[in-house]
Amino acid sequence: MIIKFITMNGHGIYVWFSFSIVFISCAVFYLKTRKTLRKYENDFLVDLQNLPAEEKNKALGTSKVAQQILATNSKMN
């Protein structure tokens, strides 16, 4: 039964190859997108930390996005 499931009456190579290509491409694309997102989040935080204290507090006080990036990063760390 397992061999029949794998070979699929001679069509297994086409079916498994198709599903594998889709799975691998999607996984690589997802990881690449996530890596870029993390990089931008980290770069944003570095820029935020490098601001003078007054501007940094002002930024955190006025921008919800900055607060959320900081909160997300704190959770991850």
Binding site: M8, N9, V15, F17, F19, V22, D43, F44, A66
Partner: protein, 235 residues
């Protein structure tokens, strides 16, 4: 109403949506794969090779849907100059290109056991190849050009010209004699696909939709951070 669509509210919503998709995605993926690879019946002519349909068809549908969305938003952006549409289109285009490439590759892998050839320059296959080229040109416009106004103009023109290809892809199997089979699923009228195959196809479509939405949200979130990073000193 417009306050709701401010970047901070959108950013918060994006994070919630990403968490929601992450929580249900693998469950639906496992259900979809179980149906597609095991529970759905083989076709009486094509045998088990018909299972390729469960990745080929959703990829092709979403490739067309992505380009249609890009065209629609490009036209709106061209008229109303809504900057957000530019970032939405920038985030959708790579997903559309990925799905187009996957539709072409899996179609080729389905063609070999079914037609006896990997590729023919027939109307449906050629028009899908043309769609892939339009996606490449569209993404290159973002990569190569520097001024945002010029990018919007050039990318909108590419999208509007490329949209002519969408009905050609859809109706190519009816207008010309092609190796590719006509549509089995129709929104208006009766579909010729058996419910035992339609259900796994719809589940796999949901999997692809969720995946596309997840990537879109991550890319859109990246764009928001990029803008905020640029404006950091002016916050």
């Amino acid at each position: 109403m417009f306050k709701f669509f401010s970047s901070s509210n959108v950013y918060s919503l994006i994070q919630k949506l990403i968490n929601f998709i992450n929580s249900i995605f693998f469950l639906i993926l496992i259900i979809g794969l179980t149906f597609a690879l095991h529970l759905s019946p083989p076709d009486y002519v094509q045998g088990d090779s018909v299972r390729i349909m469960y990745v080929h068809v959703p990829a092709a549908w979403l490739a067309l849907a992505c380009f249609s969305s890009i065209t629609f938003l490009s036209i709106l952006n061209f008229i109303f100059k809504i900057r957000n549409f530019y970032f939405i289109n920038k985030s959708i285009a790579p997903i559309g290109l990925l799905f187009t490439c996957l539709a072409i590759i899996t179609g080729s892998l389905w063609g070999q056991p079914t037609w006896g050839t990997w590729w023919v320059w027939d109307a449906r296959l050629t028009s899908m190849f043309v769609l892939m080229l339009f996606y490449v040109f569209y993404i290159l416009a973002f990569k190569l050009l520097r001024k945002e106004e010029l990018i919007i103009k050039v990318s909108s023109i590419i999208a509007i010209i490329g949209s002519i290809n969408i009905p050609i892809i859809k109706y190519s199997v009816e207008w010309w004699t092609t190796l590719h089979q006509p549509a089995s699923i129709k929104i208006i009228g009766s579909s010729s696909i058996h419910p035992a195959m339609l259900l796994p196809l719809l589940v796999m479509l949901l999997v692809f939709l969720l995946y596309g939405a997840l990537i879109f949200l991550m890319k859109y979130k990246t764009e928001i951070i990029r803008i905020k990073k640029k404006n950091l000193k002016r916050l």
